[in-house]
Subunit: 283 residues, 2 copies
Amino acid sequence: MKLIHTASEMRAWSLARKAAGQTVGFVPTMGALHEGHASLMRAARARDDAAVLSVFVNPTQFGPEEDYDRYPRTWEADQAMAVDIGMDAIYVPDAREMYPEGYATYVMVEGVSSGLCSRTRPHFFRGVATVVTKLLNAVLPDRAYFGQKDGQQCAVIRRMARDLDMGVEIVEMPTVREPDGLAMSSRNKYLSAEERKRALCLSRSLFAARARLDAGERDGAALLDLVREGMAGVTIDYVELVDADSMCPVDRVRGRVMLAVAALVGNARLIDNIMFTPPECAG
Amino acid sequence: MKLIHTASEMRAWSLARKAAGQTVGFVPTMGALHEGHASLMRAARARDDAAVLSVFVNPTQFGPEEDYDRYPRTWEADQAMAVDIGMDAIYVPDAREMYPEGYATYVMVEGVSSGLCSRTRPHFFRGVATVVTKLLNAVLPDRAYFGQKDGQQCAVIRRMARDLDMGVEIVEMPTVREPDGLAMSSRNKYLSAEERKRALCLSRSLFAARARLDAGERDGAALLDLVREGMAGVTIDYVELVDADSMCPVDRVRGRVMLAVAALVGNARLIDNIMFTPPECAG
């Protein structure tokens, strides 16, 4: 497995693969890899001829009061997981290479970046869109794999890739969960045993809402009330029902929707969501 | 010569050239081609194995009161010039393909986009940076060629290409002028015979300033006064002395600078500039 540290070397590596008629699959991450990331890497490994992981804790998507400094870094274990899955290369740029002095360029995705996580993290999606643009420009993948847990991020990146003619297919993979339902997240490491138990209310509330959706509930307020009640033990940031493409709030389930939650549990800000397409709208 | 209308077809064409070991040179334009564009195409033709022209009048870089609708369109002549120079392909996307319903993504370059043209054209560089990103993503060139006449635009695109790891060399070619000194511009078509004469004061004033620079003048105010006096017959938008990389105003010539002017002559907004590196700072 090849370790690559610069954008120009990464691009040359990918262009050589493409020149040989291979497709390139790409899994961009901030490291601290868990089974969710593993599922993305396995998908890239299975579907593409060449599979690239990137590990970069991107400073521009953290606010000044956020957890950039203490974000978990587990480089040895990350590398071992990538080797184990059979990735062909890891792109590991350093922050000075990514944001040199005088850096001035940002990618903004309007609309879909509004609401939800952007209310408490106003620069988050600008940071994500910008770093993903840089990574895609270096790796030039045919497909890039993202986890559905970061549902708004997926919507932002899909919109951006299409708008900017990036020539990449954005593949959204299902959220991977612990056996008890908690969505896998690098930030779960922040939770004490007691907080870990309380954090379960996010997924449990969403599963309860899914049961109601399966039973035919289409009223947004009823679903949101149900989820909010289930999350009484944590500090809710938001509970929202939005259109799955535009991320605009909806008050009834008429097409594919995302029911999304964010909450503070101890020091950890956790997010989770479910997607639902009413059978009457499917196909 | 191949005509290409979609980003995916353009990208496939370029990737095939690169897979064959060829370099791709790219000249993005809004059409209404003149000798300035021809010099860019000849440079691409001479230096790169495959040479691509794009013709697209980009709506997002025009303000609501500006000349998008009346901007000259001379498609037959443009195509003939490209054939004559021996370009390999013309990329001609249409506006619906470039900005479909729901389009939401913009590229912003801070700092270097401020001042000068952005004061009267606040969304201009956002529109330019965004469309050039889209075109570069479709063409994936090794080199892209721009004219020095659009000096601030060149600085914005250089910064953007470097910041976003676009893997393209931005080549800035000298301004091409009419025999009497007027900088070539598609907008010169707007000038009446009388306005055409008055428009000469832009280049003449800049040449007078260059003579003073060559004679050792380093004081910004003296240079600006000289140029402003020379432009008494037209409506000045700005006359500025800026650092050639950052586009920040300077009051003395200490490194490479751009002396830039913009003015309204009749209905035409014209720009021009000279670059100067003091011999004591060169090399």
